[in-house]
Symmetry: C2
Subunit: 207 residues, 2 copies
């Protein structure tokens, strides 16, 4: 089991590596990784030794090889369809996010319950009626979903997602979801991020 | 120094406690906290012992007392003004977030460089011209800011924020910011959250 802080760093390295790969860069040193990722060269070397040796002293690490390895560790070597529920402000920001494709995540469908919105274009998609969630996911086969609806609607939406076969939920609504034991929920709250930031600014400590 | 995972849990407890306080609830047991926060009762008791005793066996913990204590630890017992740069989709979702006030954070001003948007209402605010950032913050005196602009503009905006006296930046743009040593940056990437979620779903492990 890889500890969560390590997983988060691996995801950061992957974003940097995917950007470099697109720019045609073949190798990277741990100092360069520090410059691009903001994570220390020593931490980078330590994280990689966790998974076996990669670099050649003096030559650096192979970018394509690192990408392949991290994707395998994170189990994102296959393209994964994601369902998005909530075609509001947050949903629009998520659909417009530039690096989606690179991480092999693909927002495959977006759902809403507002009849004015249903049928309208949303990024490259068309907004579907939430009532058709199960039917649409029977075609797509997604396992992961994002909840971007108001807190009052989030539990109802979570129940529908579980019924449609979803086993991983990224929840942006400020509420705790009750789901069966086989379903994983990760809550995102930028207020927590602000609270952690404000603590470090007040204490003057390293993050 | 409080470790980051503990800080994040404290911020979660605080959100639960503030909601309960608004509902007039006076005391809470560790089991109730587990139900509302999704964090185990044992972890809650352990976190609190870190900061001194609170609960009375059989009676539970005082909600107002816990709030006061956690706010003091996180240094959010004073109201903090926050600057927001980027009046787009993400900015709109952040301004509309329901729990802001409760954590004593207040988005005091929002800035953009798009002349069509400047001067328009945005939540309870009016969109200001980014060129007036330093002048506006001389009045507000904010120390914290949120960056919600495209990655290509983020470094320029960060430089302007530092010049305007900001010492803590919550960065949503997918890029690493270079700032002076006295400035703290916390990067938020929902793709990292997705990667961690997808890892746990694939491994079938506890988050
Ligand atoms: N975690 C964070 O950091 C963070 C940041 C900003 C916003 N948020 C939260 O994200 C959520 C979305 O915010 P927003 O600004 O996009 O809100 P919004 O009102 O702009 O969008 C919400 C959308 O959900 C739809 N909806 C409501 N009930 C539904 C249902 N039962 N089924 C399907 N669709 C439904 C609405 O029609 C609307 O289109 C809110 O819960 C907000 O609090 C979280
Ligand atoms: N970290 C995450 O989880 C996450 C999620 C979604 C979006 N994002 C990122 O958040 C950012 C905003 O996304 P969005 O969907 O709101 O984009 P958007 O295009 O809707 O909004 C961006 C706003 O920034 C303004 N802007 C551009 N350059 C500026 C400058 N120099 N000074 C001031 N304002 C400027 C634009 O005029 C626009 O109003 C993007 O970088 C996006 O990649 C991050």
């Amino acid at each position: 089991r890889v500890p969560i802080p390590t997983l988060e760093r691996l995801a950061t390295y992957l974003r940097v590596l995917l950007d470099l790969n697109e720019g045609g860069v073949e190798t990277i040193s741990s100092q360069e990784m520090e410059h691009y990722s903001g994570i220390s060269a020593a931490q980078f070397r330590k994280d990689l030794s966790y998974f076996g040796e990669f670099g050649k002293p003096g030559v650096g690490y192979s970018v394509p090889q690192l990408i392949e390895c991290i994707e395998r560790i994170l189990h994102i070597d296959q393209e994964q369809p994601i369902l998005l529920v909530g075609a509001g402000n947050l949903g629009a920001a998520l659909v417009g996010y530039p690096n989606f494709r690179a991480h092999r995540f693909r927002i495959a469908a977006v759902f809403d319950n507002n009849f004015v919105k249903i049928g309208r274009p949303f990024g490259e998609l068309v907004i579907e009626d939430i009532a058709r969630l199960k039917e649409v996911n029977a075609q797509i086969g997604a396992k992961l979903a994002i909840i971007a609806v108001p807190a009052s609607a989030a539990q109802t939406v979570a129940d529908m997602l579980v019924e449609a076969g979803i086993t991983g939920i990224l929840n942006f609504a400020p509420t705790v979801l009750k789901v069966p034991p086989h379903v994983f929920v990760r809550n995102v709250s930028f207020l927590q991020e602000l609270a952690v930031l404000s603590y470090h600014v007040a204490e003057g400590t390293e993050i």
